[in-house]
Symmetry: C2
């Protein structure tokens, strides 16, 4: 058990500072070059899935159900089997699903863009409004916030809790402000904390009473099947949002997104949106002008490889086996080195792609800079907040997926050293 | 040599009508079910290209040039070899190219959509303007016009000639009206006429003096390498627009588009945009928010299959061998049955996917309806004009690609019968 840094005397801090600085100089000498910045699959995950590329070849029958020739134009919605497969990820029905191209981010962007140019379900296009606001649970996913910023959408930060966003605040804004048109959610294994929304949170979402008729929940179910553990009690579950909204009398309030970018290959997966018939019909009006159809051969490749959602879930166990040791290597170092110091707290998620680390207020940027100087790249401090502005300068997102477990341990060794160093610097400067 | 219908006496027309009606009744009895409506590759074309699916498999090295792992995230622009390949189609340099997803239509839509939400190169977003107009050479591609209609862009019809759009009119509108922001062009083997723009036309395009700083030419080079004949003198060539615009002092005036939808597989090809650095940088600002990157494995699949643009051109000869007999079967029937009648004229293109047929004014809708009733589906009359409104009700687009040559002959037999029938009806009703 370490001593609380905040209870150390000035002399103790000075001594610690001297020791840590020496350790840091040594660390810099190692010439590390490690990257914990982005949630990218590792080469070993990619190698593991190579047989995916064999299921479709020149001898394959490329007819989909209903005799659709996947090699030709058409089928805006995606082939029926792919709709079924992606519905399985989102635990909804195929009729609620449109399968699109290679990236759910692209669907999200297009959904916002379409709202700006054409409005949602007959409502005023957002480009005609003076002000459009989104609620942004934070820490959250930087690319969600980037979409808002790109479209000039005002972002309102909503604090995250282990049960999900602060729902009192969400309810207040959604029911009280007609210019609040959306909220970004990563409901399961949230980015970056790995929190999963509680049943109460989901039910409160479904029961929202929006002031704006075109308010929509952007439910980015990116990690729906991305468990790290096989034990039932270490697999998070969330309520299915579409049916909850329907039950609550808000059938059209959600756009749900998912993809196989971290299931098969990043960039060569398939992505899907799930929503009510009214919302999907509205989207189709634009989509049918935007494209004749997405890559159906790749859709079929997914279907043939996995068979069904159960096959996909089995496959995810192989990813988990590769990812788990990395998360655990990181968590072990964090626990051993920072537990009881009072200068950091972190999450230990059951799934997803990230660990969230909170350091002493005002130290996150300094930690990231120190790490970078010594050869370990982290996501920029602040990136997890709207406008890249973490008001406490405290949150750091750790992405354990890309390095090996050994590299992850090494990188975290350096990280904790930098966390300590920044903390001591801060405490000494008081 | 047939007799000019317009010179027939009333009695002759009556007799002809009676004979044609009998023929039509017989034709209906045949129970035809043929489709000449859309420019879809035929199953035999798709079968021909199946080995495309073998070049990437689990044993493949999926590293692209510069050690890019195509299986992972990144490379917004596309992999370098794919940029090179697509640049080859457009006869430009790879640095002018971004390789995107599966459909050039999608890039075109996104380009218009982006102009609405963000403006082009710092100019006012089109959504903030009272009026946005596009010039639409017609007959033209219905999906271009659909994009305009979807965004509320006012379409101004510009007549087509065998040398390209009426450039006097184009110059007048572009230089005289600041609300004219774009023009749709299919410069080679135009849809539906199969005309290729003359050097003079391209040079006049490059030398335009737009009133609007954000006027852009939407140069849809969809059929750049889609020749029907191998003889040099039967392969149309057009000047390369980007360099012509640069020479003329208008480096930023063009967005060029192309895809491999009719080279490999429709829906599973790759698409690209070519433009100036300023325009591409402007696009990248949005694209980097919209996506992390497109399907690089499919890009690599194309590169490995074709090697380079010469490999692709060789491959196109196989498509030509399959398509040519269909065009010729159609043209033979048109020639034999309609030549000298004075009731129809048609194009005999050297490439592309369409033949354009002009029937007696006021007869196109009737011909399409008659064909449909007897089991042959044609593109809806009017579809080749803005707002689906062919002012003369004269133009019919024939898509010979999908049926077999025999079916194409059968379908054209029926078509010419319906053209005659509609003409006689019209002449008798005078």
């Amino acid at each position: 058990m370490s001593k609380l840094y905040t209870e150390m005397s000035h002399e103790e801090l000075l001594e610690l500072s001297s020791r840590l600085n020496k350790e840091y100089r040594d660390a810099k000498g190692k010439g590390l070059a490690l990257n914990m910045a982005r949630g990218k699959p590792s080469p070993s995950q990619l190698d593991m899935g190579m047989d995916f590329l064999d299921v479709i070849n020149s001898a394959s029958d490329l007819k989909s159900a209903g005799s659709i020739d996947t090699r030709n134009y058409g089928e805006l919605d995606g082939i029926p089997e792919a709709k079924q497969l992606m519905a399985g990820i989102m635990e909804t029905s195929p009729e609620n699903v449109i399968v699109c191209g290679n990236a759910s981010l692209n669907i999200m962007y297009d959904t916002v863009s379409r709202a700006f140019t054409h409005g949602i379900c007959g409502n005023t296009p957002w480009c005609k409004l003076d002000k459009v606001k989104f609620l942004c649970p934070a820490p959250g996913y930087d690319r969600h916030f980037a979409i808002c910023q790109h479209f000039g959408i005002e972002m309102i930060t909503v604090p995250m809790t282990p049960q999900g966003p602060d729902m009192d605040m969400v309810e207040k804004y959604v029911s009280g402000d007609e210019s609040v048109k959306g909220i970004w959610c990563v409901p399961k294994y949230s980015n970056p904390q790995g929190y999963s929304y509680s049943d109460e949170t989901v039910k409160r979402f479904a029961a929202l009473k929006p002031a704006a008729k075109d308010f929509r929940i952007f439910w980015d179910n990116a990690y729906a099947i991305h468990h790290l553990y096989e034990e039932e009690d270490r697999q998070d579950r969330i309520l299915e949002i579409l049916s909850e909204c329907e039950k609550a009398g808000n059938p059209d309030m959600v756009f749900e997104f998912c993809s196989t970018s971290k299931v098969t290959f990043a960039g060569s997966g398939i992505a899907a949106v799930a929503s009510s018939k009214a919302n999907l019909d509205d989207m189709r009006k634009s989509m049918t002008v935007q494209t004749i159809g997405y890559d159906k051969i790749n859709q079929l490749r997914h279907v043939r490889y996995f068979g069904d959602i159960n096959g996909m879930k089995e496959h995810m166990k192989k990813h988990a086996a590769l990812l788990r040791p990395k998360f655990e290597a990181c968590e072990k170092v964090l626990e051993e080195e920072l537990s009881g110091t009072g200068i950091a707290s972190w999450t230990t998620p059951n799934g997803g792609y990230f660990i969230s680390l909170d350091v002493l207020e005002g130290c996150a940027k300094r930690v990231v800079a120190l790490c970078k100087e010594a050869g370990v790249t982290l996501t920029g401090a602040g990136a997890t907040f709207p406008y890249k502005n973490d008001p406490k300068d405290s949150n750091i997102r750790i992405a354990p997926s890309y390095p090996t477990p050994e590299e992850m341990a090494q990188a975290t060794d350096l990280l904790v050293l930098c966390v300590k160093l920044a903390a001591v610097e801060k405490l000494l400067s008081k």
